[in-house]
Symmetry: C2
Subunit: 479 residues, 2 copies
């Protein structure tokens, strides 16, 4: 790495290549190869998210990757939103297919066509099902690995309930789950916004989306959860018979944590000028041991390295780097790859009965007696993850500001970009033209109202049209 993180866009391209996270040279535009160092972390992220879903009574299933065009077009807003982005299968073997099949851009229509067969009575509710899969979208915007590509890896959960209240409770649970996992475990800060009506998911009543911030102050959307109301249940005829014998449409929600995109936020949130910085719980290698080798003591030092590795393997993924590169080269390489803890060990250390331990997040070096290594490393690992979270939170807090005038908003977005709270006329459809004005004047998007905030403007004016402001919305430049 010789690009400073302050030059974020180039730093990002460089680290995804240098740390071998992905390879963008595959033969189809917008499709990348996800390489082992990234996939090993993504697999840990998947495992934590799937565990969180299952603890909340979601069951895993696997639906087909292909969706008949006739399914996809059944809900009118949904079809408008997704059809321009679809990869279509039209041939199979030497034949034309009977109708076009969409490679799933998302699975509402695949899953709900089955839900209508599965749900009959209150006994079948709630139905909470998720799948881990890939989705494909023919993005016309510029692609960037992990951030926006034409193929991405996600989890999608699709739930049905007897009442609107239960569905809303699920939306809250989805947000709480993102808090537990993405913030609590991956150490990535974000804000949940209720999207304005003009920016909700195609087919939803309301969309709640977690927006994180990249180091350049531009926002990246992480999971969103959608209150679908009864739009899809009416289009797909998903009904249940209630206790009084009446037939009712179910209430639905869906939720989509895109693991490959959350991984982009992980790189961007924690990385530094030297490369990746990974939380211990997500690092493919958590502890790297670099032996300092001299010909005459080589065997002894390697022996001790193996002994330490064995002792630590109960709690950590440990690797000894005994390749023939220099220690300095190895230090740089493993720092670039974000390995959280490095142990350096030479004959002099062994004689002194200590190991030199270096923290990737702070650069701090410590001499630790062999006997204390196990216990100390546990402490250090916890301290690293805690530090990454608090550092990220602290930085995030500096990127929240507010403005009441368009000039002021533009000025903040230039000097201290992030989320800017602005008074706004409305987040209903008629507010869209005011949002368009912000886009035109400040190259920023209106992300919505902050979920959970009950702050209401008293005597302020809409930043765009000057009418009486009824709500605070947040603006940000976005990926």
């Amino acid at each position: 790495m010789n690009i400073p993180k302050s030059n974020f866009s180039e730093w990002y391209n460089s680290i995804t290549k240098d740390a071998q996270l992905c390879d963008i040279r595959y033969g189809i535009k917008g499709f990348v190869v996800f390489m082992p160092w990234a996939v090993m972390s993504m697999n840990r992220m998947y495992a934590m998210y799937e565990d969180a879903l299952e603890r909340r009574d979601h069951l895993p299933a696997l639906f087909p990757a292909l969706i008949p065009e006739s399914y996809l077009t059944r809900e009118s807003d949904h079809v408008k939103g997704f059809v321009p982005e679809v990869f279509w299968v039209t041939e199979a073997g030497l034949n034309k297919t009977e109708e076009r099949y969409a490679m799933r851009p998302t699975s509402e229509t695949a899953m709900y066509s089955m839900y209508s067969l599965w749900i009959h009575g209150t006994r079948d509710l709630p139905l909470k099902i998720y799948q881990r899969c890939q989705v494909w979208r023919y993005e016309t915007k510029a692609t960037k690995p992990f951030i926006r590509s034409r193929e991405f890896h996600w989890i999608e959960a699709h739930n049905c309930f007897a009442t609107r209240e239960q569905a809303m409770a699920q939306v809250y649970e989805d947000m709480e789950m993102a808090q537990e996992i993405i913030h609590g475990k991956f150490c990535i800060p974000f804000i949940f916004f209720k999207r304005p009506q003009w920016d909700k998911f195609a087919g939803a009543e309301n969309t709640f989306a977690a927006d994180s911030l990249m180091p350049d102050g531009r926002t990246l959307q992480l999971p969103s959860t959608h209150m679908l109301g009864q739009h899809f249940s009416k289009a797909f005829d998903i009904k249940y018979t209630d206790e009084a014998g009446k037939s009712e449409y179910v209430w639905q929600t869906c939720y989509g944590p895109a693991i490959s995109r959350i991984y982009a936020a992980l790189i961007a949130t924690h990385g530094d000028d030297k490369g990746l910085v990974l939380p211990v719980r997500l690092a493919p290698t958590q502890v790297v041991i670099v032996p300092i080798l001299k010909e005459e003591t080589k065997a002894k030092v390697l022996e001790k390295c193996k002994e330490i590795k064995k002792a630590l393997e109960c709690c950590f993924v440990v690797k000894i780097d005994d390749s023939d590169k220099t220690p300095g080269f190895k230090f740089n390489e493993w720092e670039m790859k974000g390995v959280p803890i490095r142990i350096e060990l030479g004959m002099r250390d062994i004689d002194a009965g200590i190991a030199v331990v270096a923290r990737r997040d702070t650069g701090e070096k410590m001499k630790i007696p062999f006997a204390e290594l196990d216990a100390k490393l546990d402490e250090i690992a916890q301290a690293i993850d805690k530090n990454l979270l608090s550092k990220a939170d602290t930085w995030f807090a500096t990127r929240l500001s507010s403005a009441t005038k368009m000039d002021e908003l533009n000025d903040i977005l230039e000097k201290n970009p992030g989320f800017v709270k602005v008074p706004f006329c409305t987040d209903e459809m008629q507010g869209e033209k005011c949002a368009d004005l912000i886009k035109e004047k400040c190259q920023a998007n209106v992300r919505g109202s902050k979920f959970g905030s009950d702050e209401v403007p008293k005597s302020e004016k809409c930043i765009s049209c000057g009418a009486h402001a009824t709500i605070y919305l947040y603006a940000a430049r976005q990926y």
Copy 2:
């Protein structure tokens, strides 16, 4: 379940529906929905297989689902083998694509196009990479859930080596891994056959495939591992510079455990007239507690059920079925779903200080004092998995026979179908017409020579052409 397993084909269709393993009513022919009860077991199978691969130094990666037609057609045997089975993407959004993209039927060509960029010297070897993904094949044969469908879920490992010997060692390791996981953990017996030259993988030098047996004595192919030689490395220009500075093509292998198909073998191998029987280590619910409820003692009994559940949760996935169905109905339902251990608990049992424990595999019922429950259940769990394995092995052994005449072969395949050892002229290409004769006369396929056997015919004649037999091959009817 009211179809006996002896009527295997109908039993199979019925159990996949009744136990809610899959739903075949999806809107595209040959595509099924894999439902939670199956996916939960499949996820455990994936985890064990991925762990086995990683312990053997394979790294996970994720390659695109779409493959440019120009990649797919680069190795001539491969293209002939796969192109008739491909689903083609030809449109994206409102545009035609630049060339046709294949939905991967297998990933050799996607991966090897990148390997040629990744491999330079001996330091880059061996390269051992796997991915967990779906593949799509436009099957023209009749589809059957899990056994043969147009979309299936698998793992594929693709490795590169400096020498032929290292590549062959990998093929042996792949077979040993199948033995460890599929036989040792999933309790499914099989034989590894070296396929005859006319039946090898498209593009391989040699194919080694694990064939299991269904209860009707027909064989089902489980993982296969392929010695690819240098066919693909020459087509994809994958070269390394050896220590002498000479440029050499790598030697390659690939390996494809199809988890969804192994799941079919799991259903078929262990199931009985009452439904599924699952090994404890693969059961989504391992212990079900059925309370025997009477109005006046309901609270007390449920309380005790919860206490037992809590105590057992350290080691088992436990569920209390407190729904309002009758105990008898619940017994049948959980037996049909294959839950390995059932605990029945009524007030009378509580007063007596015992729980009634029933084993799914043997039907045996035991009275176990509460204090011994933890320890006894561990023992029972181990006994169940051990029993399933030995039962399966014992049955499998009864299905191996041998024949020297065509009439005899046909007779065995009618009366005691399974694998039949026959003397054969050769497993090289020129033997194919002899295999065709067996297909014509006995509706059976030649599966190849048994891997690891050094038995050679002495003075026997080929069962088909009557020429001097040089090898023993095995014939079986197949799925």
